[in-house]
Amino acid sequence: MKAVYTRPKSLKPVPNHYCPGCGHSIIHRLICELVDEMGIRGKIICIPPAGCAVLAYNYFDFDVCESAHGRGCAIATGFKRAQPDKIVFTYQGDGDMAAIGTAETLHAANRGEKITSIFVNNAVYGMTGGQMAPTTMIGQKTSTSPYGRRTDVEGYPLKITELIAMLPGAAYVARTSLATPAKIRDAKKAIRKAFEVQMAGLGYSLVEILSPCPTNWKVSPRDSYVYLEEKMEKEYPIGVMKDNTATKDTETSCFRKPS
C-alpha cells in the first residue's frame, strides 16, 4: 500500500508540548516536510527563539542553536558569515522579532544576510502567559493590556514585515496564514521559496505566518481560527510583498497582492 501521508523524517517521533490549536506544530511540520523534500537536512541550521518555540529542538531532527531573546538574526548572521554553504533560518515569535529583536532583525535584512526568518505572529507573548506583544491588535485584551490595546497608550500593531519589505537587502518577503488548509499550503510554498532564495544567494528572506494562540486569546481552538481569518488577516493582509526572483509569486501563485 502506498503511503500518502507520513511523518516527515526530520520531525522527531515524539509528542509535542504545544497547546491544542496552537499553530507552531503545523509550522514545524511544514518546515520538516520541506527539509525532507528539498533534501537539505545535512545543510540546514535552525536558530529558534526564546518563547514557546524554544523547544523546537525537541522536534526538529536537524542541527539547532538556541538564541537569547531577540538575537536570532545576529546569531544567524554570525553563523552564515562563517559557513556560507549552510542554510540558516531563524524561527521567531512576534516579541522576539518585532520588540526585543527589532534592531537585529532590521539590520540583518538591510545587510541582505543570506538567511531566512520564519516569523510566527500570534499577537501575544505566549510562553510568558499572554502579555501584550508589538503585534497585539487594537482593542485586544491581554494580561498586560487588560483594558484592550489603546493606540494612545500602547501604540499601534507593528508591521515589521512591511518595514522589511522596503529594504533593498530583503529579496523575498511574504505574509501567510494558517487559517485554512489552502492557506497552510501557501505558507509551505512561501517557506520553500524563502529557502530557495537563500540558497540562490539573493538576500534576506522572510515569511510571516499568522498563527492562533487559543490559550492566551482565551477562545476555543475552533474560534481562534475564525478570529485569525476574520480579524487578524484584516490587520495583517496576507500575500507576497516582495519577490526578487525570476518567477515572481506575486504574479503567478494563489497569493493575492496585499490590499
Binding site: 536537524f62 542553536c65 538575537r71 544567524a76 554570525g78 562563517a82 549552510k86
Partner: protein, 354 residues
C-alpha cells in the same frame, strides 16, 4: 623566523588574533578601541576572514556566538559601556560552552564616564558580569608583547576549555607602541570540536542550548561547569614577580597600573627600600597561591589600582589576614606617574617602620 617590529597595542592584538586563526571578527565602534575593528576590517579582507560591523554590541557578541557554534575562532572587542551590553552574550557563551575571545579596553566609568585608561571593570570582568553561576578567564597584559602573546593564548584557552575568554586592557595598553616579536601560532593540540553545528549529514542532529528546565538537571550542569572552572583555577593562573625575594613591601598591581608600579619599585630600590612587585596576569583565576607564597616573606602588601579598590578584595581573600594589606587608587581615568606611587611607598615604609 620571528622578527621584531614596532607595533601599536591594538594592531598587535588584531595581528595576533589573525595569526591565531581567528576567522571572524564582529564589533561596534566605541572609543578607545576603534583601532581594533579598523585593523580587523583591513586585515580580515586580506586573509579571507570575516569582518562585520554589527548594529550594536549586543548583535556583535551574538554574531560571535553564531560563528563559534559553527566551529570557527571568533572574537569581538569593545570598551566598558559596550562590554556591559555584551554581558547577556557572555552568559550564554559560558552556558553553551562555546569558545570566544572578548576584549575590553577599559575606560573611565561608571556610566558614559570618559575615554581615559581605567581599571573600574575588574569586578565585572572577574565576577562573570552576566547573569548566572559562571566564571570566565580574564587576562590583563602589561606590554604590547604580552598583549600579542596573550591574545594567541586566549584563543587556545577558549578552545581547550570551551569558554569565553576576556582580555582586559585599557586605552594606554591599546595606544602604546613597542617593539615586539610577531610570533607564529604555538603548536597547541586542540581537542576535536564534536559539539559544533555543521549540518546533520550522516549523524544524529545536535543541539546547542542552555535552557534546562529541570532544576536537578540544571544543577548538574552547574556542577559540570564548576568542575571545569576548578580545572581552570588549577591550570591557568599566571603572574609576574619583580624583586619580591627580599621585599618587605610588595606592591600588587595589574596591567597599566603594574607598569607604573614597576617604575615606582625601581625608584624606591634606588633609594635603598626593599620593595617588590607582584603582577597578576590572570585576574580570574586569581594567582592566590603566588600571593600566599609572597605573604610568607613580605611584611606589607600595597595594592595599587586605577579604581577605588576592587582587586584588593581578592588580594585580601588570598592573604587571609596574615599580612596587612593597604590600598592606593586613582579612579576616573587618572593615570598617576611612578613618582606618585614611589611617594606612597615611602610613606608606608616610614609609617609602618619597615
Amino acid at each position: 623566523m620571528d622578527k621584531k617590529v614596532l607595533m601599536k597595542g591594538t594592531d598587535a592584538l588584531g595581528e595576533a588574533a589573525i595569526r591565531a586563526g581567528c576567522k571572524c571578527y564582529f564589533g561596534y565602534p566605541i572609543t578607545p578601541q576603534n583601532e581594533v575593528p579598523e585593523y580587523m576590517s583591513r586585515r580580515m579582507e586580506e586573509v579571507g576572514g570575516v569582518f562585520l560591523q554589527g548594529e550594536s554590541e549586543i548583535a556583535s557578541i551574538n554574531m560571535v556566538l553564531g560563528a563559534a557554534a559553527s566551529g570557527v575562532r571568533a572574537m569581538t572587542s569593545s570598551s566598558s559601556p559596550g562590554i556591559s551590553l555584551k554581558q547577556e552574550g557572555l552568559s550564554f557563551l559560558a552556558a553553551l560552552e562555546l569558545p570566544a575571545v572578548i576584549v575590553n579596553i577599559n575606560r573611565g566609568g561608571p556610566g558614559l564616564g570618559n575615554i581615559a585608561p581605567s581599571q573600574g571593570d575588574y569586578y565585572q570582568a572577574t565576577r562573570g558580569g552576566g547573569h548566572g553561576d559562571y566564571r570566565m578567564p580574564v587576562y590583563a597584559p602589561a606590554s604590547v608583547q604580552e598583549l600579542y602573546d596573550i591574545t594567541m593564548r586566549a584563543f587556545d584557552v577558549a578552545d581547550l576549555y570551551r569558554t569565553p575568554v576576556m582580555i582586559l586592557g585599557d586605552g594606554m595598553m591599546g595606544q602604546i607602541m613597542e617593539p615586539i616579536y610577531v610570533r607564529e601560532r604555538p603548536d597547541v593540540e586542540i581537542p576535536p570540536k564534536d559539539y559544533i553545528l555543521d549540518g546533520a549529514e550522516g549523524r544524529p542532529s545536535r543541539i546547542v542550548k542552555s535552557l534546562i528546565l529541570d532544576p536537578s538537571e540544571m544543577e548538574e550542569h552547574n556542577w559540570k561547569l564548576k568542575r571545569k572552572y576548578d580545572l581552570m583555577a588549577h591550570d591557568l593562573p599566571q603572574w609576574e614577580e619583580f624583586m619580591t625575594d627580599d621585599a618587605k613591601l610588595t606592591i600588587i598591581a595589574y596591567g597599566t597600573a603594574a607598569r607604573i608600579a614597576k617604575g615606582a619599585v625601581k625608584r624606591a630600590r634606588s633609594d635603598g627600600l626593599k620593595v617588590g612587585l607582584l603582577r597578576p596576569i590572570t585576574l580570574w583565576p586569581f594567582p592566590d597561591e603566588a600571593i600566599r607564597s609572597v605573604a610568607k616573606k613580605t611584611k606589607l602588601f600595597l595594592v595599587f589600582e586605577m579604581s577605588t579598590g576592587q582587586m584588593v578584595d581578592d588580594v585580601r581573600l588570598a592573604v587571609e589576614g596574615k599580612v596587612p594589606c593597604e590600598f592606593y587608587g586613582r579612579p576616573g581615568g587618572v593615570v598617576p606617574i611612578p613618582q606618585e606611587i614611589a611617594r606612597i611607598i615611602e610613606r608606608y615604609w616610614l609609617q609602618k617602620e619597615l
